[in-house]
Each structure stands twice: as C-alpha cells, then as structure tokens.
Symmetry: C2
Subunit: 296 residues, 2 copies
C-alpha cells in the first residue's frame, strides 16, 4: 500500500439548507443541517484512504469540540491523525455554509488568527514508508517543511494551488496543480497555457484543473492537455480536493502524470455525481470500474 502524507487544513462545516440565501440582518430558518468535516488537505486525505492508500494528515486543530469531531470523523475514514494533537487555547477552523434550493452557496468561515504558523511540531524526517506529500496553501510553512523533506527523499511533493501561494512553496513542489482561480491569482495572466508557461522554470511539473474542460499541463516549456470525463454533476463540494488526493496517490504508486490525471479525474468525476461533499468520494473499485467503462 502506498502512503501519502497530507499537510494543511481540516475544518468542521455546518451546512444549512435554506429556501433562499440570507440577504440582510434578520432571522432565517434552515430546513436541514449537515455537520461534516471538510478542508482541502483533510478532504484529500479521505480520498486517499478511500482509494486504498495509507493516508496521514498533519493539521492544526484547537482544543474544542470541533477539533474532537474533526479528528473522530477522519479516524473513522481511516486517516491517521495521531500527530495532529489539539493546540491548547486555539480554536479549530469551522464554517457555516448556507445552501439554497438551486445549490448556490454562501460560506462564512473562521480560522484562528493566533494558530501558530511555525511547523516545529512536524517531524524533521519523513516516515520511511512515505511515498508522496500533498500540501495546500492554508498552512504554507507546514507544507514547505514537508515538501523540502519530500524532495530530499526523492518522492513527489504535490501542491494544491487553489489560491495564490508563496512562490517558495510553488518552487518546492515537484508537482504544482492550480485551480483556474489559483493560477490567475498566482500569475496575473488570464490565459491558462500562457500562465503555466510563464511560471515554468523547468524545476517542476505544473498543471491547472479547468473543470469540465480537463487539465492543462506544462513541463519544460511543453504544454499538454488531458480531457475531463463528462458526468451529470450533483455536487462539486470537495471535488477538487478529491482530485488532488487521488493524483497524489497515483504518483505515490508510481503512475506517470498523464495516467495519474486520468485516475484523479475519474475519482473527482464520481464524487461530482454524489451529494454530501467528501462523503461522496469513491472507492478504488468504483474508480477503476469507471475508468474501464470510459476507456473501452
């Protein structure tokens, strides 16, 4: 079994179903409520575990009920969070997400501004069985430390660039995969291919996920394209995170980038057909069946 170490954010999301999104200072009643773990790195770690990988998560949690719930839910998913101990006096990240009948979302999120940035509690040596490291932009100092350890160990370090990242973190990644928004924030360039070419220093592999339009890649000045799978989309919440988890696992297993993209795109496509955020992340068997069906 391949091991992926994830580093970044884990949240507890309170998802309120409302007839219409709130618009002003008044009282609104929700018809349904779901309390679900979320967060980029945490969602990716769940995807890795469901796809048959060994997943560990390094994340900063507070000593509160949200932190306890986050840890318990990840543990139930088979993610190792043993090292992510509650930080005394700190508050875990939580969000209130209001979803209307058309699926439109209003997200109010809180992260403790006093959460320590220093990654001194992260290990100074990667576990011997680590096959890849995946990091998000929500704790850049933590991701940077583990990316450098990964590169020194000769294993892939994958950045989920969902928003503008520290340039040092982008350089430290062996594979930097941006969202469209993230790539535009990073480069100031609208055209995705030009943006990737502008970032390309030859030091690492770059890509941008463009939803239904597939993935654009760039390595040593050469641009590539891998199409997406067409599915009936029900819920995209967490789909990008599932994509990055699956991509990291595929690289950890020794798959090539184009093959890893297809695997990740299949996992994310299945997730999009199911309601409930990361609860819709697929198993390995489901993903392989999907890939066979779509390839034949």
């Amino acid at each position: 079994m391949s091991t992926v170490i994830c580093v970044g954010i884990a949240t507890l999301d309170y998802i309120y179903a409302v007839p219409a999104l709130p618009t002003e200072g008044a009282k609104y009643r929700a018809s349904a409520l779901a309390v679900l773990g979320g967060g980029i790195a945490a969602n990716a770690s769940v995807a890795v575990a469901r796809l048959g990988g060994d997943a560990s998560l390094y994340t900063r949690l507070g000593d509160d009920i949200a932190g306890d719930a986050i840890r318990a839910e990840l543990g139930d998913e088979g993610v190792d969070v043993a090292a992510s101990l509650p930080l005394g006096g700190r508050r875990s990240p939580v969000s209130a997400i209001m979803v209307d009948r058309a699926g439109e979302r209003m997200i109010v999120s809180y992260s403790d501004p006093d959460m320590p940035a220093e990654p001194d509690w992260l290990p100074d040596f990667l576990p011997a069985d680590a096959d890849a490291v995946l990091g998000d932009t929500r704790w850049e100092a933590g991701a940077l430390k583990l990316f450098r350890l990964a590169r020194a160990a000769g294993i892939p370090a994958i950045l989920d660039g969902d928003r503008k990242a520290d340039p040092d973190l982008v350089s430290a990644a062996s594979h930097a995969v941006f969202s469209e928004v993230g790539l535009r924030e990073q480069t100031g360039v609208d055209d995705l291919e030009k943006a990737l070419l502008g970032l390309d220093t030859g030091a690492n592999w770059l890509a941008v996920t463009a939803g239904a339009r597939g993935v654009v890649t760039c390595r040593h000045g050469r641009v590539g394209h891998v199409p997406a799978f067409a599915v009936d989309v029900v819920d995209t919440l967490g789909a990008g995170d599932v994509w990055h988890g699956a991509f990291a696992l595929a690289l950890a297993e020794g798959q090539g980038e184009d093959e890893a993209i297809r695997f990740a795109s299949a996992a994310a496509a299945i997730k999009c057909t199911r309601f409930g955020g990361r609860k819709g992340a697929p198993s390995r068997a489901e993903t392989e069946t999907f890939l066979k069906e779509r390839t034949s």
Copy 2:
C-alpha cells in the same frame, strides 16, 4: 433558595464576527468566532442560577457534540439538566449568527423537525420544592404539561410569549409575558394596551415588555405600566430571556408582580450593558446594588 423549573429550547450558537453581513453566494471570512449556548429557556435558566435561584431545565437535545456542549455549559452555570438526556438519532438545535461591526445580526437557525413533540418523558408530578415554572413557545406541548402541573400545585406558570403561541398555552399560564412582536402576532392588534385588553379573560395576568419603554401589564381589565431603567446598551442578545428568568425567580420568591418586574428589568438592563449574550447575565448582588442605586 427558590426553585424555578424552565422548559423549552436550548441551542448552541456559533457567532461569527464579520466586517459586513453576507449578501450573496460567495465566501466570507470571519475575524472572530464565539461558540456559546443560547436558547430562550436555557438563557432564562442561567439567569435564575446566577441570581441565586435553583434552576432546572427540561429541553430536547440530540445525541451530538452540540448537545454535549450545551449540557456541559449549562452544568457549569449550575443549571440542573440531569433530566434532559440526549434523544437518540436526533440533532440538537444550532444557529449560525453573523454579527457585523455595527452589531447588526443575521441568524440562521436549525431545529430538528423530527424532534418528538410528546412530553411523555417529562415528570407527571412537579418536584416538591418547585416554586415556579417558566416555559417558552419552542416546545409548546412540554410547556403546557408543566404549566398545568404548576397551576394544580398553586405555583406560578410564566409564559415567555416571544412569538405567536398556542392559545391553550396562553390560557394555562398564570403569567403570560409577551414581546411586542409576540403580542402583535398573538392578537393582530398593533396597540399594546388594546392588544392586552383583548386577550384579558380575567383568568391570568398579562404583560408585554416594550424595551426602553418599560412593561405594560393587564389584570382584570386594569392596565398598568412599569418604566424601564435607562442604560447604555452594548448587547441585547439574550436580554429578554434574562428578563423572564429573573421575573420567574422573583415570583417564585413571593414578590408581587410590580416588584418582580422591577427586579427583572434591573437584571435585563445590566445584561444589556455587557457583551456576550447570556454570559452578561448579572449576579444577585449586582442586581440588588443596581436596584438600590436606581431607587435612591
């Protein structure tokens, strides 16, 4: 020590401080978060305990982390919640409250629609030391059952009529104290005195709290008025609930209605001068000092 039994809602409120209230489907970041117990009957029970009374709360909670947090916080306040056991498979009431810099509030609340209405788990006999019962409109069948037991035992049954209530519940109360909104919803009459006179059947004592304008009372066709105390208002969240808790405790102690109104208005006034919802409810000594200062 006098004993007040409270019956109604207890919630867990996630209070997000935001620069401006959300207006559309987008992402918003909160600068601060407070996670506090709330709910009408629960807030009133805390006020009773802080004012030196013996407070019990009968409330319907789910078997979730919010329910655990609600029970723990009430226990820390000295409220007896031993009978309010978690209901299997049910979800506790929670709210997301967004507060902007001007103090304006957007409240999104959820109550489990499958929470059992039947009050069969409530006691069929009041504890021998019960001196008053206080109920809200959030669990009318529960309040109705305990109001009838209170009337049979010859002790006051106080309704917090913050919104339209079952007419049977209003009749069952020895003292029905409405908010302005609640009285208008109940009667369809704008003028507060006329609304009270229209409700008056001679069977019980009626009143409406009108904020800074004081309290209007009505008994046997006679209307009275007790002025409010002027204070610099910082936060009104929970002030009405504190008022009702203090009023119920004063009646439980044998104070007359006008005296009880002054006591309750003093406790609520002090609460309004402090931030943090029911965390600002005063002690007995603070309330008595306030009353002395304002009377001399």
